[in-house]
Symmetry: C2
Subunit: 351 residues, 2 copies
DNA sequence: ATCACCGATGGGAGCGCTCCCACGGTACCT
DNA sequence: AGGTACCGTGGGAGCGCTCCCATCGGTGAT
């Protein structure tokens, strides 16, 4: 496939120098051709390309990295144990988008797990050695020191799911606010009036935005927000169960529930069923994530889909720009960049 | 975490030279300390280590790679689309073993998918550029050109699941022969005498070994091998169904089935059930892989477990040796290395 | 015609490290 | 005392590339 047979006489791989000699030009010119510089005449370029093909020349990455002070590699850092990585389709979707967007690039993607302390140690060392040009951060907890470390090292980084409205890193997010709004508006349109919300972990920015969307949707409809209809969850099934129990107690007339995740909705459904409430007849239910759970729930769950794959693509786009600019977002001052991608409400029979 | 604050005066990262100056020694000595050479006095070593700590020195990988002509990276090549990678626990287990064995090494693991032609193209380019010191090959098809390419490029490689008895690459495998034997011996011990075998795809070496194990177990018991009891499958459920149908026709007195995979066993079970045969009362069933399917089948399926994680570990072991020897297995002549790891029969109620 | 200018090109000077040879010193042998 | 051996050490010579500056003609303006 690569390497058309003829090699440098010494048996080793051909070098720039050898290609230059073969093409009858200087080293600099070959370098320019290889790197697609426009400052080369067409004739010369053709000659060089011929020589490259004949010798089966492939640039030496290490030499290039040393001379140019870049690695042509970026890391996707997963601060979770590998198990979760394989278990959650989130990562697989994200990886698909990232891979696709990277595929017509010279950039190499490294997958780095940093679930255990030991692994985090290694990661720190790795970043300190500047072995990547940039970093993709997914599912980062609010108090994670990783983002700061990256800023300190001046390594460009893009985070999926900003930690706050004032996120210093370049970020990509789905429209949590809009997603929540669309869910609540959908329930309103179905005639529901006592719509409850089971939140996610409130230290997660996206969860807070979903609450905002919930509130605003009700307010815009002219309905007030009944605080007894808002219960805190934590994205888990158990949290959903507990929150639903409390809701049934303090607001027995609830006729719809918008949960901050599908798993939470599953927990709520369980409690509702035990309480004899039918879904969607008595209580309509909407989840978030549009995961496999949503599709397989009984009844199938209406849910807000996030464009994970597109988010992956967007992360790469932003990161490559940051890298090209050769400066991390932190030093970019006010021109920080945040992409927000639209969500989509997938309506099923639970609402 | 890394980098104790003090940096080289110039603001950039400290270099070997700077560490040497600080420690009052020569460049070569620092290099020796960094690389753990024993030819350094204890006092000198201590001084250098102090300087390294003070300056927060981290070796420049690119420079090292260029000078030493190695990359300190190995690739796990998955010749499948990413989807399958995430779907099959095989890969996740393998990765766990590989990661564990690599964790006290400086080696960096790269995960490379080569499912599409485009990806394979990139991979070829990648290998031609010698961007890794070695390659781990998993789930390679018999006619894949990848192994040859690696030999040609003289890149050390270890394959899991040799392609034939004469595999030229260093290989790791589970004991397919022994696994099959143990399954059949188990059925014999349970008093079964008309034991059928649904094979895997016969172009897969491991599948052929399983047939060998099946035959020898019967022969050693003094039973002949009835060719009507051997039916070809292809590791799939559908293949299992078809094979089982044929078996019921040509050998209606069958009282046990050893299938080359759990999925195949699932297909067979279906046909058996439709034919009114009870499992295990009328026909005992044994599968291979000990996958999730086996545990959740009705009745739970006896199956042969392969030590995937250990195989991952073994692959790394062998690969690191090959790399240290700086020569691919192909040029090693007759001292090729093949590890074969034991399987384990997990007995459940299907037999 | 003259001169400033610009695009195309060649090649020196490193990038930070490893490898290896040469050096001085000490210990041990004859 | 002289020789041999070996250890710990310093530092030159690259590894193959990019960056950048100097150079060389050719061009259009004056």
């Amino acid at each position: 496939m690569a390497g058309h047979g003829a090699r440098g006489r010494s048996g080793g791989r051909p070098t720039l120098e050898e290609v230059a000699a073969r093409a009858g030009v200087g080293r600099g010119t070959v370098s320019r051709v290889i790197n697609g510089s426009p400052r080369v005449s067409d004739a010369t370029r053709a000659a060089v390309e011929a020589a490259v093909a004949e010798l089966g020349y492939v640039p030496n990455t290490a030499a290039r990295a040393l001379a140019a002070n870049r690695t042509d590699a970026i890391a996707l850092v997963v601060p979770e144990p590998e198990t979760r990585f394989f278990a959650e389709p989130y990562f697989s979707d994200m990886l698909k988008g990232v891979g696709a967007e990277l595929s017509d690039t010279e950039m190499q993607l490294l997958l780095i797990f940093a679930g255990s302390d030991r692994e985090r140690q290694r990661l720190a060392q790795y970043l300190a050695a500047h072995r990547v040009d940039g970093v993709l951060l997914v599912s980062v907890h609010a108090d994670d020191p990783l983002p700061d470390m990256l800023s300190q090292l001046e390594i460009p980084a893009v985070i999926s799911g900003p930690r706050s409205a004032g996120e210093t890193l370049t970020s990509v997010d789905s429209d949590n606010y809009g997603g929540a709004r669309s869910a609540v508006e959908h329930l309103l349109a179905r005639g529901r009036r006592r719509i409850a919300h089971i939140t996610g972990r409130m230290d997660v920015y996206g969860a807070r935005r979903r609450v905002d969307g919930y509130r605003d949707a009700l307010l815009d409809e002219g309905l007030g927000v009944d605080e007894f209809l808002i219960e805190q969850g934590d994205f888990t099934e158990e949290g959903g169960r507990r929150a639903m129990s409390r809701l049934l107690e303090q607001a027995p007339d609830v006729d719809a529930v918008f949960a901050a995740s599908d798993v939470t909705a599953a927990g709520a459904r369980q409690v509702l069923r035990e309480a004899g409430r039918r879904i969607p007849d008595d209580v309509a239910l909407v989840g978030y994530d549009d995961s496999a759970i949503a599709r397989h729930m009984d009844p199938p769950l209406t849910s807000v889909r996030q464009p994970i794959e597109e988010m992956g693509r967007a992360m790469i786009d932003l990161l490559l720009t940051d890298i090209a600019d050769r400066r991390p977002a932190a030093s970019r001052g006010l021109e920080r960049r945040h992409a927000v991608l639209p969500t989509e409400l997938v309506v099923r029979t639970s609402s």
